[in-house]
């Protein structure tokens, strides 16, 4: 009886010892801390926050990415495999969106500052526009827009990033110069020109009652080609050509380096 009891106790001790060892092995095998994918995302997140261009311009996109990574870190151990993979995919993309959006804003701000610098150096659109307005008598339909219209035009102007534009008595005036065109204009637009016109096409798409007058300054040939390139680009981006009025102003062309400019005048 005693021998049997002693054997049982030994057996129980062995079982307990095995269980303890198994527990220890399980503890050693289980990874501590977040999974490697999550660590990689956290490192990427840290990189974005340590880049001053991104930290300063991250905005809502960076906040969304931060929230996605934080949620993943908190729940990584409880998600099933499919949810986890989806969380890693979406968090990674949100971080990339935050980086691209912030760098775009940074470039746009630098572009605005450089645009002011260019005006200061004497190549700005303002000087040309003023000179042209003074030299060209206002027609009946060129009178100053009403105050409400002006506010609306200013709202449109705010959507035209990286464009030389102003609101004056003619309407919202967008200026395209040499650097907006490839070659003489018959080769189309540069990336800058396309960027400006893509924004304008979006604005005109949202404003079905607005029309645009495309005015080419200078002699026949180059300015006309440029104006046609502008009209074709807007047409290709969904703006009905009936809303685009093509005009040549060679008789009223301002003197100097504004020759060859194309102005796009938007009115309601």
């Amino acid at each position: 009886m005693n021998a049997s009891k002693s054997n049982s106790i030994v057996s129980l001790r062995r079982t307990a010892l095995s269980a303890a060892l198994l527990g220890l092995v399980a503890c050693a095998a289980a990874p501590h801390g977040p999974p490697t994918d999550v660590v990689r995302l956290q490192q990427e997140q840290e990189r974005l926050h340590s880049d001053p261009r991104i930290a300063a311009n991250g905005g809502a996109e960076l906040a969304n990415a931060d929230a996605a990574v934080a949620t993943l870190v908190q729940n990584a151990r409880t998600l099933d495999a499919r949810e986890y993979r989806q969380g890693v995919y979406l968090s990674g993309k949100l971080l990339q969106i935050a980086e691209a959006s912030a760098l775009a804003r940074d470039a746009e701000l630098r572009g605005e500052r450089l645009g002011l610098e260019r005006e200061r150096l004497g190549a700005g659109g303002t000087r040309h526009a003023v000179a042209m307005t003074n030299g060209e008598p206002l027609r009946r339909d060129d009178r100053a827009p009403l105050q409400d219209d002006r506010e609306h035009l200013f709202a449109m102007q705010r959507q035209l990033a990286n464009s030389e534009s102003r609101v004056d008595e003619r309407g919202l005036v967008l200026r395209l110069a040499d650097y907006n065109f490839r070659g003489g204009g018959h080769d189309g637009l540069t990336a800058t020109g396309e960027s400006a016109l893509t924004s304008l096409a979006r604005v005109l798409g949202d404003e079905p009652h607005a029309s645009a007058r495309i005015v080419a300054f200078g002699d026949r040939g180059v300015p006309g080609d440029r104006a046609l390139a502008v009209r074709d680009y807007l047409d290709a981006h969904g703006i009905d050509p009936s809303r685009l009025d093509l005009r040549s102003a060679r008789d009223d062309a301002p003197a100097g380096d504004a020759r060859g400019d194309v102005l796009i005048i938007v009115r309601e």
Partner: protein
């Protein structure tokens, strides 16, 4: 996806736009197979990939535009310097 295409993503962010298209195709196939969980997963992926294509496109366009303005400023500064020497 349409917003990305309007933003010229085909030109400036073709890889991301392709990925968005691939995810949309996956979502459509999943819908044909009535695999609704997969539809949700791939739709979300298509949406976020399209947004990334738009963001990358905007970044590329902004950087190209800024580089152009930088060149014109440099040219003007060089011209002013030349004028000063003469």
């Amino acid at each position: 996806m349409q917003a990305a295409e309007r933003d010229d993503a085909a030109r400036y962010a073709p890889v991301d736009l392709d990925e968005a298209h691939a995810m949309l195709d996956n979502a459509l196939h999943a819908a044909d197979a009535r695999a609704w969980t997969d539809v949700a997963i791939y739709s979300e992926r298509a949406k976020v990939s399209g947004e990334l294509a738009s963001a990358r496109s905007r970044q590329q366009r902004a950087e190209a535009a800024t580089a152009e303005i930088r060149r014109s400023v440099d040219a003007l500064q060089a011209g002013n310097l030349d004028g000063g020497v003469r």
